[in-house]
Structure formats: C-alpha cells, structure tokens
Amino acid sequence: MGMLAKAAAIGAFAALSLGQAASADEDARLIINGEEEMIVRAAPPAWSPLPELLSGWLFRTVETQRLQMDDFENPGFTSVDSAWETWSLPEGSAGKSCADCHGDAASMKGVRAVMPKVNAENGELWTLEMYINNCRTERMGAESWGWNSGSMVDMTALISLQSRGMPVNVAIDGAAAPFWEAGKELYYTRTGQLELSCANCHEDNYGNMIRADHLSQGQINGFPVYRLKNAKLNSIHARFKGCVRDTRAETYKEGSPEFTALELYVASRGNGLSVEAPSVRN
C-alpha cells in the first residue's frame, strides 16, 4: 500500500474505533504476518498481584488489533523504515554511524527485553533512550536526541523490533532492587486532585470501561506504541505523562529518575509477555 493510501486507511479506522468502544475478542491470538505468535497472556511472576498478565493488544477493537497483525498494515513501520536509514548514517564529530560499531541492527536482539537495566559502569538505572543518547554524545560526538523526538522514538522502535516475540525479562533484584521498590511506590501512589494511582485503573479495573476507554493492565511490552489518536509512535514516558496528567496531577518529566524507576516496575509486571513493538493502539 502506498503511503497516502495507508494514511487514508488509518484515518478511516480511527473514525471507526471512536464509535465502538466495546471490547474485542479477549481469547484472540496475536499472530503477526501469519507466522510469528506473540505471548499475549502469561503466568504472573510469584510476587505479582495480577492473576494473569494480559497484553494491551487484547483490549483493543478487532479493527485496531488487525493493524498489528501485518507489518504492511502496521502504521508504526514507517518509523521503523526511517530508523533503518538513520542506523547507517554517519553523524557527529567521529563521523560514525550506529552500524559502524554495532553492525546490523539485528545485533540489538534481546536488548529491549531487558530494558531498563542498571548500567554497570555508574550504578544508575538506564532506559533504552539513555543508552542510545550515550552512544550519540560519548561515542559519536553527535547531539543527543530529544526523548520524544521522531529520531529517538523511531530508533527505539527499530531496536525493540529486533526482540519481537521474546519474553520481557527485566531484572528486579540485586542492583535493580531499590529502583524497583521506588517504582512500585509510585505505582500505588494516588496522585493529583482526582487522587488516582496507576493501580486504581490498571490493576483494580482492567477489563472495565472508564467512559469510552476499555482499561487494560497498562503494560509496556508493546512500546513504542503507534496511537491512532495522535497518528505517531509514542514513548513509554510520554504515555506515563498522559496518564498522570489525567489524574489532575503535576507530572514527572520524561527521563526523570521517577519515570525511569516506574518504567522498571511496570516492565516487570509484564515479565513473560512478548516484546510486541511497534504495537498499535487507539
């Protein structure tokens, strides 16, 4: 499908999905391109309060689900294509590209599944975005990318795609433990004038409608996520920001220690679900 035709088709779907909020078939299986099956339901880790881990894909309408079942229909792939080009584009004072050091992007297989993780060199918890920017500024002599810039989000899509189908498996013990605890604390804190925590909506009420929205478990195995609502790929922290803002609270910033810790905790609640990026949501 040509780019324009594709854009038109997406517009039509977006309009449709507004009219039908009701849930899709929750027994559905996610098989991409007719061959790659994703784990969309998984047994929870022992500490998890959830009886079963469910991918956000299960909670979307059949039309939205279908867009993710075929890479040619998946609007997130335009971004993956542009990141392929960036991957071998030399930039910065060192005149190097990602490919010069990392070879094929396939070398990034497995990276997304364990992010965020503690950086052994400095003991800090780092997300995928931080590793990428570190290569740009420290190894390429290039400008860092903005957290939600097209270049950054596209690159996280390309790197995450290399792990598609692999189970999320972030470490929560050892050096990661204090970050995980901090993230957990944030998850259960009722913020803002509406006094709502992540858990109020995504733990106690997944499966329920809140006005026109069908609540999922708020998993991040599908990120970056292409949203029909804003017609672009969205970072994990941008999504967190939107949810916190909707409690009438002061949000945290993308890349803040709070959101980074929260990302680890939320990722761990999906340990066992497949990396699905780039996924499609309304």
Partner: protein, 160 residues
C-alpha cells in the same frame, strides 16, 4: 438568593470564581456525620436539570465515566468502575448523597471515587489537566457548592 450576595458579585468576581460564593460552606468546614452532610453547601436548593449537565460533562462531574445511569442513556459511553446509580435516591438519604458526592471517601473508605468538594491533602496536585504544578491555595474544589447541590437534586430523582 439574597440580594446582598448579588451586590457583592462584581466587586469580588475574581475571588469568587475560584472560591465559590461567599455564602458557601468552605470545603474545609463541611461537617460529615458518618459520611453524611446535613445542610446544603450553598444554602440553596439544587436544580436537577443543572445536576444532569454536571454529571454528564467531562470537565465537570463526569460521573458517567464510572457509573451507568439508565435515565442518562442519551449520553454515550457509561463506565463500569462503580455501581449503577439507578435507584440511588431510594438507597440513600439526601444528606448521605451530599456526603458521597462531596467526599465519597468519608462513606467508602479508600474509594476510587474522586472527592468533589475538597481542596487539600493532595499529592502533587496539578493545575487542572495541564500536567503543571498547582499550589494548594490556587486549587478550587472539583465542583462548586451549588453544583454539588444540583447533582444531589438529580440523584434524588433516581428512585427504584
């Protein structure tokens, strides 16, 4: 409405827009008795038609985000978070309904239902839906005293 109140409006219009009417019971002064609030917060009767508007408008009460209400079926998308409000006027007294709408946590411990007539005690309160910080003295209650009364009046029409 007392004429005195009307005369004050132009002079204090700015302050009033945020704080509500001078005759309102201030959020911090509401007396809860086992969750219930006996007296009108605005000193006036509620208007059920206005209450219906508050309950179905996203920027206001948006009660149907969490509750289904059969008599509001003309408005699309009712949520499933709380119980249906059908029959609420038979289950609860006026004072209990006023207490629930003002601060449901006083009736249902730890409830997910927002406290619509409260101004303090928040963690990271924001300036409406901007994501920016708001200091507690800048905050207004989610609904005004009269809006609470209007909603209570509408709820009382929901009989079994």
């Amino acid at each position: 409405m007392k004429p005195l109140k009307l005369a004050l409006v132009p002079v204090f219009a700015l302050a009033l827009a945020n704080a509500g009417w001078a005759g309102d019971v201030a959020a911090g002064d509401v007396v809860y008795d086992d969750g219930a609030v006996a007296v009108s917060l605005s000193g006036m009767a509620g208007d059920p038609a206005a209450g219906k508007k508050v309950m179905t408008t996203r920027g206001l009460g948006n009660c149907i985000a969490c509750h289904t209400v059969s008599s509001l079926s003309e408005f699309a998308f009712h949520g499933e978070i709380g119980p249906t409000l059908d029959g609420a006027g038979s289950r609860w007294t006026e004072a209990q309904l006023r207490g629930i709408v003002s601060d449901a946590k006083k009736t249902f411990d730890g409830s997910m239902m927002p406290s619509f007539y409260k101004k303090s005690g928040y963690i990271r309160p924001g300036n409406a839906y901007t994501g920016k910080a708001a200091s507690e003295d800048e905050l207004s209650t989610l609904l005004t005293a009269q809006q609470i009364e209007d909603v209570v009046a509408y709820l009382q029409t929901l009989k079994d």
